[in-house]
């Protein structure tokens, strides 16, 4: 059996005095797609931020055999961990192309895709390559953030609520794009509310409640577990 690419053991995180993560355990294999589900406010984004070093993590986080808890964000990124935050954080005063350029970590090391290849794959972005990113639609912004992170050639990418606030047709496109990323061999930790997307793409599902993982299983198993959905997901 191969080693997990990312291992999270007993992860805790705090905002001031409030104890938000209460011992999260998680494993992701190379190339695996994982969906992280849960109601609003249970700590899914905080899990992503703690792994990425944006929120100070307490616990053990290992990526490709190396401890990353306590490392600075840029070092974590250089190990091959990419992050697409909930806030998307495109650089609005720069062009689409410039945003993509900033996704490249090292100009001397070519990644899986060049900027031109990336633009070929996404005609919407190609059309707007020289427009300011700030004027893109919500869906285009989401695609741009994902493409920008992919320019850094990650082996695992954490995507936080990519379809939030998007029209149904666009949700479909973003879902297709995430499936494409997975096919390229990149492991994905997908934080998502929409079960349709999550269950279509994921090989395994984690459900989070009150800062802990309360369920782990395959999409097939999850579909049979109305109790879990009722207790931890439905509002």
């Amino acid at each position: 059996m191969t080693e997990p690419m990312l291992t999270v053991k007993d992860l805790h995180a705090f905002y001031g005095k409030s104890h938000v993560l209460r011992g999260v355990h998680m494993e992701i294999m190379p190339g695996e797609v994982i969906a992280l589900l849960g109601r609003n406010g249970v700590g899914r984004s905080t899990t992503a931020k703690a792994i990425m070093g944006e929120v100070p993590p307490k616990g053990e986080i290992t990526f490709k055999g190396q401890r990353i808890d306590g490392l600075e964000s840029y070092r974590i990124a250089h190990l091959g961990l990419g992050y697409v935050p909930e806030s998307r954080d495109i650089f609005p005063m720069m062009t689409v192309r410039e945003n993509l350029i900033l996704g490249i970590k090292d100009m001397k090391k070519p990644g899986r895709w060049t900027i031109e290849e990336m633009l070929e794959m996404f005609p919407n972005l190609k059309e707007r390559a020289d427009n300011l990113a700030g004027v893109l639609s919500g869906g285009e912004k989401q695609m741009l953030t994902m493409c920008r992170t992919l320019m850094g050639n990650p082996d695992l990418i954490i995507i936080d609520e990519p379809t939030e606030g998007l029209a149904p047709k666009i949700v479909q496109q973003v879902g297709d794009m995430i499936a494409d990323i997975a096919r390229a061999g990149v492991a994905i930790l997908l934080v998502e509310q929409k079960l349709s997307i999550a269950l279509r793409i994921a090989a395994r599902v984690y459900v989070m409640g009150h800062g802990e993982i309360v369920y782990e299983g395959t999409p097939e198993d999850f579909k049979t577990r109305a109790d879990i959905r009722k207790e931890w997901l439905e509002v």
Binding site: M52, G53, E54, E72, S73, Y74, I76, A77, H78, G82, Y83, P85, D89, F91, M93, M94, E98, I101, L102, G103, K105, D106, M107, R148, T149, G152
Partner: protein, 310 residues
């Protein structure tokens, strides 16, 4: 007529010097979120370093070396000072820069004394460049103009046309995201702080001999630089440029006006009351920056081009 042309030239030069000082401050503000009270002290250090270096070598070596040294001092202050203070919040940072300003003041007095030093314009540039309407224009001022314009062009090019410049701009607004993309944000911040201080230092090198090099120069220049940054709009380089030019021109023109209130009253057909009438327009020049500051905060708190309020 020559007053107008000369005032225009002098105003532009003064404005460019002000911009050189405030460009660093406004970049550092975007990064830290607080004004760096010690910024003008780096301007003073630039002038004193240049004076000492020019004393043992010559002005041209000082022109290169002094800003570099000031930049290194700035980078060191960021790396070993500000960075640890940053964790304790904005007030701590502000007080830190306050303390630093006084510290640099005292150090300068201990090393170079309390009186002005004899930091001179290099002989090579100490001649009248041209003559206009019978009055002569010093070559050194033209030199200041060229250096400032060169710096302006270089700064613009680096920030807008290089990858490093794009990374800097992105880091100023989205530091976390830039870190997640694999860029070393702490190092970027240190470089920006260092470069901002180096620009202030350069202003000191070319301005210290044009104006005066004494321990009061930081205290005199400091408030005016703040005015430029606030009036221009915190964090906006374009705004700082506009404000610096506006201030430079207004102050220079005010000084150039001989008229007093008595004359104005005269033109208006009023009788000149003795004391009020004695006030000259020129004597009001030092007031202009602060009047601008107060007015802009009242009517447009974002400043000319800023995207956030104080």
């Amino acid at each position: 007529m020559e007053t107008i042309v000369f005032s225009l030239l002098n105003g532009v030069i003064y404005g460019l010097l002000l911009f050189m000082l405030s460009s660093g401050l406004t970049l550092i503000f975007s990064m830290m979120g607080v004004l760096n009270f010690a910024h003008a002290s780096f301007y003073m250090l630039g002038a004193y370093f240049a004076y000492s270096i020019a004393g043992v070598t010559n002005f041209w070596i000082a022109l290169i070396l002094a800003p570099v040294l000031v930049g290194l001092v700035g980078a060191a202050v960021e790396k070993w000072g500000l960075r640890s203070v940053h964790a304790n919040g904005h007030v701590a940072e502000l007080l830190f820069t306050f303390g630093l300003a006084y510290l640099i003041d005292e150090v300068v007095k201990i090393i170079w004394g309390r009186n002005a030093v004899d930091y001179r314009v290099p002989e090579l540039l100490d001649f009248p460049m041209f003559e206009l309407f019978g009055a002569q224009y010093p070559a050194y001022r033209v030199f200041i103009l060229l250096v400032s314009v060169g710096m302006l062009a270089a700064l613009w090019f680096i920030l807008n046309r290089t990858r490093a410049g794009l990374i800097i701009q992105a880091a100023l607004t989205h530091p976390h995201m830039v870190g997640h993309l694999g860029h070393n944000v702490p190092r970027i911040f240190m470089s920006v702080f260092g470069a901002g201080c180096a620009l202030a230092g350069l202003a000191g090198v070319i301005g210290g001999n044009y104006l005066v090099t004494d321990p009061a120069m930081a205290v005199q220049m400091g408030p005016i630089v703040f005015v430029v940054v606030v009036v221009g709009g915190l964090g906006s380089l374009t705004g700082a440029f506009l404000a610096a030019m506006l201030l430079g021109l207004m102050q220079t023109f005010a000084v150039g006006i001989d008229a007093s209130f008595a004359d104005i009253f005269g033109w208006l057909g009023l009788s000149a009351t003795s004391e009020l009438g004695g006030i000259t327009i020129a004597s009001l020049a030092p007031m202009i920056p602060f009047l601008m500051l107060v007015l802009i905060l009242m009517v447009r708190p974002r400043g000319l081009m800023g995207d956030r309020e104080l």
